[in-house]
C-alpha cells in the first residue's frame, strides 16, 4: 500500500478487529485479521496491543488451550467508546478526502461567486 498507517489508525483497526470477537482473540489471529485490510509486519502488533492495554481499551485473560497458555485480548467498555470516536473521526476524514479526490463540489466557493455577481 502506498499510504502509511499511523499509530492512531493502527489502534483503531486493532480495536475494530478485537471488538468483533465476543470471547476475545489472540495475537496471531489479530495479525492475520488486520492483514486482510492493511500490510502489517509481525513485529508491529505487539506494541499496539501493549499501548491499548495501557490505555485500558483492552483487557487480557489466559486460557489453556492444547496444554499451554494462550493470551486472549478483549475489548473493554472504554475501548468501545474509543472505537466509536475513531469511527466518526474516520467518516469525517475520509469524507473530506473523497470530496477532494472527486474534483470537489465546493458550495462555499459558488456562494461567494454569486454574491460577487
Amino acid at each position: 500500500m502506498v499510504f502509511n498507517t499511523g499509530a492512531a489508525l493502527l489502534d483503531a483497526i486493532v480495536l475494530a478487529v478485537v471488538s468483533t470477537e465476543k470471547e476475545g482473540t489472540y495475537g496471531y489471529k489479530i495479525t492475520q485479521d488486520v492483514r486482510q485490510a492493511i500490510e502489517l509486519s509481525e513485529s508491529t502488533l505487539y506494541p499496539v496491543l501493549r499501548r491499548l492495554l495501557k490505555a485500558e481499551c483492552l483487557e487480557v485473560y489466559d486460557k489453556e488451550c492444547a496444554g499451554r497458555n494462550r493470551r486472549y485480548y478483549m475489548i473493554t467498555e472504554q475501548g468501545r467508546i474509543k472505537l466509536e470516536e475513531y469511527r466518526s473521526e474516520w467518516k469525517v476524514y475520509t469524507g473530506k478526502v473523497t470530496e477532494l479526490f472527486d474534483g470537489g463540489h465546493r458550495p462555499h466557493q459558488d456562494e461567494i461567486e454569486e454574491a460577487v455577481k
Partner: protein
Amino acid sequence: MSREKFIEQLESLLSPISAQEREEALQYYQNYFEDAGKEKEAEVLEELGTPEDVAKIIFDEVGYQEEAPKRVEEKKEETENQLHQGTDSVQNTPNEKPKMGKARKIIMICTSFIWAPILFALWIVIVTLIIVSAALAFTFAVLAVAFVVLGLAAFVYGFIHMITLPAFAISLVGAGFIILALAILFVLFVLLFVMLIIPGLSKLLVLSYTLPFKVKGEN
C-alpha cells in the same frame, strides 16, 4: 536461527526493561510462534527480523531507549561547549562561533591596512609607558632608600649634638622627620607603580593584541 534461539536472544536484549514488561513481550512472541505452528516457523522468523529489530520496536514503545542515548549525547555536547569556552575567550553562542570566527578573520585581514598601523602605534605607546613607569618606580625606590638613610643620619646627628648645639640639633631632627616622611611617600609611589600602573598597562598591552579578534565578537 531457531525459535528457541530467537526467544532466548530477545530475552537477554530486553534485560534493560522491567521484568514484567519483558515477561509480557516474551509471552506474546512465544504465543505467536505456537499459534503460527511449526510449519510456519521459518516464515514467521524471517518476517519478524532479528531479535534486535524486535527489541528496538519494544524499546520504542516502552520508552526506554528514547532517553538513555540522548542523555549521553547531551553530556557530550555540554563538555564540548565547555572546552570551546575554555580555549576561546570570545563569548558567543557555541553554534555561531566557528562561522563568526571565519568571517571575522577574513574581514580583519582585508581591513588590516587600516587598523594595523593604529594598533602598532598603540602598542608602542603602551610599551613606552610601561618602561617609563618602571624607570620612575626605580627612581622613587632609590630616592626612598637614600632618604631613609639621610633621614636617619640627620636624626642620629641631631641627637649627638643635642647638648653642644641644641638649636642646630633640633632643626636637624626636624629635617630628619621631613626626609623620612618623604621616603615613606616615595615608597607609596613605588608601590603605586609596581602594583597598579605597570600591571594595568601590561593588561592593556595583552588586550590590544587580542582586541581585533575580540571587539566584533562581543558586539
